[in-house]
Amino acid sequence: MLEKHAKLMQFFSSTEEIVGRKKLQKMIYILKKCEIPFEEKYQFHFYGPYSEELTLRVEEMCNLGFINETREEKKNYYQYRYQLTESGREFLKHYEMNLPPLTRHIEEMNGRSSRFLELVSTMLFFEDLPKEEISEKVFTVKSAQNYTDKDIEDGWKFIESLRSIH
């Protein structure tokens, strides 16, 4: 029961908090692409890979009291913070998760902007294309973000470093 939720709770248990839904979306996608077996289905959207399943599952965990969501008013939008609750920690004790430790991955990603994670997740979305085509595709579908060659280069280094974490 709720095994997919439990995997996500393990993710939240590996960090103090996650700030921003966009960041959360991209982090889970990037982890999936690093062979961490999250099961949420992603599609490409306006801002890169996005999972409606993840949105719903997080909402369910909030409603069940496993995750605490705080909404903060920004100038033209809201921002959300997520933390695992004590109930969530208790629930998690019933599961034997086979996920590898996620702390270092999360620390690395938490230290980056959501704009950068949008770039990295978009590059990973097109990962099956030849490398030069990936850059071209990113510049085309993300023209509004004005990413540079340097950003893409940083993106590849970042992906490599994440994938080398054991």
Binding site: M1, L2, K4, H5, G20, R21, K22, Q25, K41, Q43, F44, H45, F46, Y47, Y50, E52, E53, T55, L56, R57, E59, E60, N63, L64, G65, F66, K74, N76, Y77, Y78, Q79, Y80, S87, F91, H94, S114, R115, E118, F125, F126, K137, T140, V141, S143, A144
Partner: protein, 431 residues
């Protein structure tokens, strides 16, 4: 004349209960409708197992695909000569609208879950592979199949085109809400689409709606909200979906254990092995699946035959509301008791969550999370819908999740065996 510009000598029309008529004038569209891959959609129901709850819900993905095409055709008519709209994208948009669901399989959702497939991958494979559809698209222009695939995959460079077919207020949703309402017979799900189409405006990278059309959009959001709870999340449909999923799991499990089926499930073999080819995927439609369910009713495996009889004869699992947080201990006890009562809990004790279903609500979300519906104000500024609409704001923050526990009540009530254990189960479930 180039194939892409060819028109039929006379317009063809499909009579349609939702849009009255679906108009086809382009030769390419007419040819695509005639392909084997598109005709196959007649044999895939739009609402999967909902027909077991709403007996009218027998409509197919063929109906819906034509409907989406028709809405996009009307949107483009309205966009002609407006800024930001490129008339060169017309045929591409129409083809993408028509073909957007091409890769759906039988009872898509359960199939995808059990066999770890993605219908979107098959849509891409049909568009780009050795198919009748691909040959027609290739005649339009070299690289045209890829363009259509990119629009459907939402990775096409012109995001306005993507947004017409797939966004928070798109042709796909506008068709299925009205069509599903019509065929299920429910009274919600209707909204003033004509008005919305009149106030839609193309912008650089998205479709927006003039502020004056806000009330029509509110109506659309309310329809979406009500349809989700009343039709898509209907607990009886979810029961049928649970049983269907369990049938597929059981059949796969038996295959992996080397079980000998009375009738070789040839159509399922590649699915059990996890690698169906495009040809094998296309050969499996709902008629074939239901045929196997009929034959599996006679199987020696008790679980498979029981589940198939339940599905075919609509003897569904009953449900009770369930809170996985507050009732974790009860669930663990039930799991043990079901085993003791001879009911395999992996098949007969099922928690189903709203996130198991493939439908979404409108959420304004966070900046950069997902593109919301934008209203175009008279001064040219864009504002997110819920910032201007009290109605949308009020339903945006509501609790929209639930969990249900599905059980075979008839087997639990049968006290001819293991009655003590069953009584204890009933006490836990019903007090």
């Amino acid at each position: 004349m180039a194939y892409r510009d060819e028109k039929l000598s006379e317009e063809k029309v499909f009579k349609d209960p939702v849009h009255r008529y679906v108009h086809v004038r382009d030769r390419v569209i007419w040819d695509l409708i005639g392909t084997a891959e598109f005709q196959r959609l007649r044999r895939i129901k739009q609402l999967g197992t909902s027909y077991l709850t709403f007996h009218g819900a027998e409509h197919s993905r063929f109906n819906h695909s034509l409907g989406v095409y028709e809405i996009v055709r009307r949107i483009i008519e309205n966009f002609q000569d407006r800024p930001h709209w490129n008339a060169e994208e017309r045929l591409l948009s129409l083809c993408a609208a028509l073909l957007h669901d091409l890769g759906h399989g039988p009872f898509s959702h359960s199939f995808e879950k059990v066999f770890k497939l993605d219908h979107e991958d098959f849509t891409q494979a049909i568009l780009l592979g050795d198919t009748e559809v691909n040959r027609i698209l290739n005649r339009v222009e070299k690289g045209f199949p890829k363009k259509v695939a990119d629009v459907i995959n939402k990775t096409y460079e012109n995001k306005l085109v993507v947004s017409v077919i797939s966004s928070q207020i798109d042709a796909d949703r506008m068709d299925y809400l009205q069509r599903d309402a019509y065929f299920t017979g429910v009274s919600y799900g209707h909204f003033d689409m004509e008005r919305i189409l009149r106030v839609m405006r193309p912008m650089e990278d998205q479709v927006v709606v003039k502020e004056s059309g806000m009330h029509a959009v509110e109506d659309y959001i309310m329809s979406r909200y009500q349809m989700y709870w009343q039709v898509y999340f209907h607990p009886v449909t979810r029961s049928a979906e649970v049983i269907l999923t369990k049938i597929l799991h059981r059949a796969k499990e038996l295959y992996e254990e080397g079980y000998t089926f009375k009738l070789d499930p040839v159509h399922f073999m590649s699915f059990f092995r996890g690698q169906p080819t495009l040809k094998e995927y296309l050969a499996l439609d709902e008629a074939v699946v239901l045929y196997y369910f009929q034959t599996w009713m006679e199987e020696d495996d008790g679980v498979l035959s029981d589940l198939c009889q339940r599905f075919v004869n609509r003897r569904l699992f009953k449900y009770i509301e369930f809170n996985p947080n507050a009732q974790m201990n009860e669930w663990m006890e039930l799991y043990k008791l079901f085993t003791k009562a001879g009911l395999n809990p992996d098949y007969y004790l099922v928690v189903d969550s709203s996130s198991d279903l493939p439908y979404d609500f409108y959420r304004p979300g966070e900046e950069g999370e997902r593109l919301p519906i934008h209203l175009l104000q008279p001064n040219g500024e864009l504002k997110e819908l819920s910032r201007l609409s009290d109605i949308v704001e009020s339903i945006s923050g509501k609790k929209r999740t639930d969990h249900k526990l599905y059980i075979p009540l008839d087997l639990l009530e049968d006290m001819s065996n293991r009655s003590k254990t069953k009584k204890r189960i009933m006490e836990i479930l019903f007090g």
